[in-house]
Symmetry: C2
Subunit: 208 residues, 2 copies
DNA sequence: GTAAGATGTTGACGCTGTCAAGATCTATGA
DNA sequence: TCATAGATCTTGACAGCGTCAACATCTTAC
């Protein structure tokens, strides 16, 4: 009598774009980007396989839209640390390192999408994604400068280079973890603390 | 009269396995792992599309075999640095960092295959690959211990954690470069030097 | 109320990895 | 020497993929 699925009652979905992003994010988290296909996604949402093409030019645009969501969430988490009045500068740096790597460890597929080669390698990021990602990258430089001025990081080193190296460090640790090269996540705390020591111990010597 | 291709004269290829690895390595270097298909590879080598399956269980095994080649080459390059009698310890550390990141920058696709999630994430590395990769990983730990004993790296930090962090640092910088997040390779020298400073400056303070 | 545009549908194409079944060559041992 | 087992290579087939073209349906604006 009726259709097999109730939601199919309407010809138009209503808010397909949002549904696609949300469902795709969930599928990404569960099965990884290599198991995320537009056809399975459309099926899961309950539309035909080409319906998504009226909302995203191609698969890449969908992935960029998912990454955008990731950056929004990410940004909130960063700001929470830096606006916490109960933390001194060293505690903030520690919280940042720990928060960064924990986010990656808890959302490995999203982290890979946000900071991995799938999107960035061939310069395939959409303008919309760049608009939110680039400021995030630059925020890292700003933080580094702040910490240099406050004496936590060595002021003698070039800010841009230092921020590339410190970011490289936590990015590299995150990647070793989520790519399965160091599968053991139980060492995260110790690794974060070791990284912090390496960053901060320079201070007195360099700035004396 | 004759076949369109001379090499097709023989039914058996002769050394197909080696040919596949070599040709696949070249295709990988040129077009990246995402454009490397078994069918194009077989076509290039001049065999039918399923011929490779008599030498590799599946595509993953082929990729692992390519990565093995990469590790062999890699290992030679490392040993060259450490057996150079003209370098003192700090120069060796500098040469190691620079050599590591230069290798990645010059062989981005191979580096990604060797140290990326394609192979390692789902634990899909073959035993044969693990046999050559794991010692390479452990070699990094050994070097770190050496440099700690020689006073170049802080002896107060746990060797394993420190080696994870230092490797994470250069791995992270390499990834930022080859994934196109920092596309500008002209800063490699400065970034390496900044990383070195961060590693080494701790020395006097920690070991005094 | 009709026309335009947004949104959804089915059909089709070429690409992919991989399995099954059969063809051909090589090597082993009676 | 010669059959035969095993290694190697072939074509045929299948399901899954991203994407384009053509058509259907609903919504919105004049």
């Amino acid at each position: 009598m009726t259709d097999k699925k109730l939601p199919k009652a309407r010809y138009h979905h209503g808010d397909l774009r949002t549904s696609l992003i949300l469902t795709a994010s969930a599928m990404l988290k569960d099965n990884g980007v290599e198991n995320l296909s537009l056809r399975k996604l459309a099926d899961q949402v309950g539309v035909s396989r080409t319906a998504p093409y009226h909302h995203f030019k191609d698969k890449n645009e969908l992935l960029c839209a998912i990454a955008e969501q990731g950056f929004s969430h990410w940004k909130l988490q960063l700001e929470e640390i830096f606006e916490n009045p109960d933390l001194n500068e060293e505690q903030k740096l520690r919280a940042f390192i720990h928060g960064y790597i924990s986010y990656a460890a808890q959302n490995p597929e999203m982290y890979d999408l946000m900071f991995g080669r799938t999107i960035w390698k061939q310069n395939s990021a959409t303008d919309s994604l760049k608009d939110i990602a680039y400021p995030t990258f630059q925020f890292q430089v700003k933080m580094t400068r702040d910490w240099q001025h406050k004496g936590l990081l060595p002021a003698s080193l070039d800010t841009l280079r230092l921020s590339q190296v410190t970011w490289g460090t936590i990015h590299g640790i995150a990647r070793l973890l989520i790519d399965g090269i160091y599968a053991d996540a139980s060492h995260i705390d110790e690794m974060c603390e070791t990284a912090l020591r390496m960053f901060v111990l320079n201070r007195q010597e360099v700035d004396k």
